[in-house]
Symmetry: C2
Subunit: 212 residues, 2 copies
C-alpha cells in the first residue's frame, strides 16, 4: 500500500460519518461529488483518496453506500473494538468518557485513572476511577489499546513516559504541550486552540481561502 | 495570496506552538528541519508552507524565531483578541472555558450560555452562565467573534441556525453531527472519534504509514 497522508485519513473519517448518516436514512448510492461537498474537497480528490485502497464504485453509477462504508471502516481499523483508557479524571476526561461518538465507532472507554484520592473510587458510568499508580500494571496486562491523556500539561510527559514504558503504542493527548515518544509509538495531540486558529485564519484571510 | 489548504493552516499552528516554546527558552534561530520534525513533515514542506506568505529566513542561517513567530501569528489572525462564547454549559463547555491554551493565543471566553435553569446564573470563573434565550440579542449586539457549540447533537443545528441568523460568521462545533451553514459562515467540527481514528488507522496499517 502507498503511504497515506494524514489529511487523507481525516477525510476518510469525514466520508465515513456521511456514509453512516446515509445508511441510517436508507440511501443506497452516493457519488464522489456528494462526498466532496462534505469533505470540503473536490470529487477528483475523493476518487484519489479512495484509490489508495483499491477500486471502488462504477463509472456513472457512483458508490454503493453500504459497501463503501464497510470498506472505509476496515481501512480506518474500525472492524474491531478498541479499548481506551482515560488518564486524568477532570472535565475533558469526563466529557470524553460520556462522548456518544466514541461507542458508535467501536471505541470503548474501559478505564479511567486519576491520582486524586477524592476522585479514586468514584463511578463514571460503567467504570470506576482507579489510581494512576496502577496504570503500568494494567497496561502491562494488555488491558488497553489506546491511552487518552487529559492530565495537566506539566504532568503529561511523565505519564507518556510511564505508559510507553509499560507497552502503550497509541496515545491521544489533550494537553496543550509538545510531547516526545519513541518512533514506534503513535501520538496525536488535540489542540483546541488550533481549531480556533483555523477559524481566525479563515476570518482574517477571506476571500481567497480554500476549504480543502 | 494563493489559496491555502487546511492542512497548511494546521501546520502553521503547530509551527507557532514550537516557535513560542523556543522564544520562552530564549532560542533565537530555528531551521526548516527543526520545524519539519515537529510538524511531522519535511523541510521542503515547511519552506513551501511559509513561502505562501512571502519570503522568510536566510539560506544557511535559518529563521529568526521572534520574527517568524510574529509573522505566523499575524497570518493566523492572532494579532488581536477574539471574543468567544460557549453555548452549552456541560462538561466539554466547562473544560473549554478553563482551557489554558485559549488565553495564550488571544481567545477570550467572554460568555457562556445554557438553557438549563439550574445552570443559568452560576459563575464560571469570570463569566456568569446566561440564558440561551438571550443569545441572539447578545450576538446581534456584536459581543462575540466566534461561537463554540457544546450542545447535544440533537440541538446543534437549531442553535447554529439561530446564531447564524443573528450574524455569527465563525462556529466551532463539538457535536458529533453534520451541520449546515451558509457559504459566508466558517464552520469547523471537532470530532473526537476522528482523532482516535487517525490512531487506529496508523495501528492497523503499519508499516508503510506516512506521518505527514
Amino acid at each position: 500500500m502507498k503511504r497515506i497522508a494524514e489529511s487523507t485519513v481525516r477525510r476518510l473519517s469525514i466520508y465515513l460519518g456521511f456514509l453512516e448518516d446515509a445508511q441510517d436514512r436508507g440511501v443506497l448510492t452516493t457519488s464522489s461529488d456528494d462526498l466532496a461537498k462534505l469533505g470540503g474537497t473536490t470529487s477528483a480528490q475523493v476518487r484519489k483518496d479512495l484509490s489508495f485502497f483499491g477500486s471502488f464504485g462504477k463509472r456513472g453509477l457512483g458508490y454503493s453506500v453500504p459497501e463503501l462504508a464497510a470498506r472505509v471502516r476496515e481501512i480506518l481499523g474500525l472492524g474491531r473494538e478498541w479499548r481506551v483508557c482515560i488518564v486524568g479524571a477532570g472535565n475533558i476526561g469526563s466529557a470524553l468518557a460520556r462522548y456518544a461518538g466514541f461507542a458508535e465507532r467501536g471505541f470503548h472507554v474501559s478505564g479511567v485513572y486519576d491520582s486524586d484520592p477524592v476522585k479514586i473510587g468514584s463511578r463514571w458510568g460503567a467504570v470506576t476511577v482507579q489510581d494512576t499508580a496502577d496504570l503500568e500494571r494494567d497496561i502491562s496486562a494488555g488491558r488497553y489499546d489506546i491511552v487518552v491523556l487529559t492530565v495537566p500539561s506539566e504532568n503529561a510527559q511523565e505519564i507518556v513516559d510511564r505508559v510507553v514504558a509499560a507497552g502503550t503504542k497509541a496515545i491521544l493527548s489533550f494537553a496543550p504541550v509538545q510531547l516526545t515518544v519513541p518512533g514506534d509509538v503513535e501520538l496525536r495531540t488535540v489542540n483546541m486552540a488550533m481549531e480556533l486558529e483555523a477559524l481566525t485564519f479563515a476570518l482574517t484571510n477571506r476571500p481567497g481561502r480554500d476549504k480543502q
